[in-house]
Amino acid sequence: MNRVLGDWRAITILLGPALLVYTLVMLVPIFWSLGYTVFEGNPILGFTFVGFDNFAQLFTDPKVGDALWFTIRYAVVLTLLQVLFGYGLALIYVFWLRKASGVIRTLAFFPVVLPTVAVALLFQELFKIAPVQGLVNDILNVFGIASVDWFASSATAFWVMIFMDLWRSMGFYAVLLYAGLVDIPDDIFESARLDGASGFRLVWHIVIPLSLPVLLSSIIFSINGTLKVFDSILALTGGGPGNTTTPLTLYMFQTSFTYGEYGFGSTIALLLTVLCLVVTIFIFQSNRRDLTKD
């Protein structure tokens, strides 16, 4: 039996192609990219060895600082809101709508599958001020509030961006967390109710502790996704006004393809990768410590 299930030729034929493609197109480029960090130039004009200059530039280029700060701000704010709103919706699904939540879940999930570029263009129109005013400013006018040029200042552009990405992703986190909440056995809630817990107390003392694992994976997933944000920002603001809404991903892209600096671009990409890894490991670790304390 093990002769068949352990047949090396069969393993090679089944696994080989996938491993080959994966190695050539993902693993090799990861190390290749690491190699680029000590070079300057691009494949068209050629490369020169510069040692650790790119890393020195990483610490001195104020745009890197700005992009890093924006990335972190965006990831923290959006992760908090995504998980908070998603959790709120999931609680509504489980405790108020119960079996009837199917239609609402389907509708709230709509935006998740829509192409980001299309959504971003739609939101540009919604928040537009000129030449033809968008819906949002029209509504503000109805309440006697003056129109706002949303994309003219980094603060308002930031919040439009957060609102749009929250709109896109809320239904996703709701379903993810809903799946976690449904797994909690009913009799736990029953006995908690019999003990007199209800409403917020029930949620705070019973529901949240029991759904901690799925909350945690939502947070890790959200942080990982928001640190890598690219499509929605490029399509909504293009990183502007100025470079005030430019995350690391977009700055890396501009450095590499607008200025042709592959070495520095790779260094920014490395910073991003390290950031993703560190944050994920950190959240994992801090959670494990809490669990052993209990």
Binding site: V25, V113, T116, V119, L126, G171, K228
Partner: protein
Amino acid sequence: MTTSTAHHPGRVRRALAKVPMWIILGILLVVVVYPLFWMLTGSLKTQDEFLNNPTWALPEDWTNFSNYVEAWTVGNLDVYIRNSIVAVFPSLFLTIVLGVAAGFALEVMVWKGRGPVLLAFLVGIMIPGQMILLPLFTMYFRTGLTGTLWPLIITYTAIGLPLTVFMMATYFRSVPREIFEAATLDGASIYRTFFSIGFPLVRNAVFTVALVQFFFIWNDLLIALTFTTSDDLRTIQVGLLNFTGQFGQIQYGPTFAAISINVIGTLAIYLFLNQRVMKGLTAGSVKG
């Protein structure tokens, strides 16, 4: 207050307690659905209506599809959609075929080193696309693949593999091992076991994974933007990104129509298969 309160105080109070909830749900539906409705009505409006009517006004002629015609022909949407199809479906097919086979080899077959190889695939899920972009660009440039859709097909296949392999291995793990062992005892070759037993057992899972990968690849902008060097290679997302630029900020109708075409297409697939999409995307919720 009224007699009914006196008769059924509990029932009324319970109904009243639900009012805030219905308000919250109402707001939710308006926030999710109204922008899409606004986009659809916008796609049917004439330029004149955009300039003179309020933004929430409904279109005067509900059968005015001239914006769609213009977006499709002048806006080149037909070319962009064709490019997307040519790039997405071959890579989808390759990802699934290679991924299922690899998942089978990593989970069902017995050999040393399975763990490390699976871990190597897992690393790919965490790595941001930016990390592999520049070496790939160099590779495609040197091999002369730039100027074709091959860079997209190859890159999508590779990027889809980690998640596919990981999910397929998980699905194969849930199949009782005895089934495969019995097949080999009955004298089935490993390929026979894979095609006649392994593959059919995870058929539903394959469909779900394919659906998830489809949405990831179809909606991708980063890879498509990097490797489409000329206008006639653009995918639908890259084309759409450049769409407003093409028509200037002046032509609203075609812009709304182009967004609508994109949104309606994905929405139709989703509505048709929504339970599977939801399950698949949340199960495969690893890629950002």
